[in-house]
Symmetry: C2
């Protein structure tokens, strides 16, 4: 016979082990969250990219600060792509995110890896190094958009 | 006569010293950015608050991780409230943000300070300590919403 304590422990473990999608009460909350995280990430990455392409004056500290925020944000959106969040609010997410989830996960991890490298590049303070990293990161963003985001 | 070098330096300084609002090409970009940052912050703060009020099972590491993200995000929205961003997209921002900007700034800094304390509280792993910090942080959120956000 199971003890009350073991039943409580099992219930608590089950509650903690809920999938990421269950972190959101409704699909629309998950969609709004992931779009928001990508917007904030894109804004800060855009500042570093703007310095790389000469649109914004280069400032090594500002570049490093913005890259660090973008990298932190790059880890977040994925929890908002749980099962059942393909609809519920306006979204450009393609069905392939869920039908070819391994490929989507790989693409998201590629981008996160490039963001880590971008942070390292901005810490060198060398604009050419930063340009290379911005190119690789932007390429990872684009690859994921091409495959998993509607026009 | 000014040297070319000094003119270039002055121009570069002016370009770097642009107000925060100029970090955004259009008011709608600033509005979308600040709303996105507040959405991401609110989602992560909500997880800690959910543990404090018993809606989510308490897990000290998850609480600390979420508080850290919320604290990082708490620094961001304010750059999106520059002059001229009172309209341009759907927004619940009240005119008082710009007409009584010192009070708004004080309220935003109060909240950021409470977030720092929340991070420290989650690091103790003590749920009662976290509950107190969640209450103070939630109070700072509410105070700003009451004064500066339309219903």
């Amino acid at each position: 016979m199971k003890s009350i304590a073991s039943i409580i422990l099992a219930a608590a473990a089950a509650a903690v082990a809920v999938p990421a999608s269950a972190q959101f009460a409704k699909p629309e909350d998950a969609i709004k969250y992931r779009q928001s995280a990508l917007t904030v990430m894109g804004t800060h990455f855009g500042r570093v990219a703007g310095m790389a392409n000469g649109r914004i004056p280069f400032d090594a500290k500002v570049a490093a600060d913005n890259a660090a925020i973008a990298e932190t944000l790059s880890k977040l959106p994925w929890a908002g792509f749980g099962e059942g969040t393909d609809k519920g609010a306006t979204t450009r997410a393609k069905p392939e995110i869920w039908t070819d989830n391994a490929k989507f996960k790989e693409a998201s991890e590629k981008m996160q890896g490039e963001m880590v490298k971008l942070v390292a590049a901005t810490k060198t303070g060398n604009l050419d190094t930063i340009k290379t990293a911005v190119g690789a990161t932007g390429g990872a963003c684009k690859a994921c958009h091409d495959n998993f985001r509607k026009e």
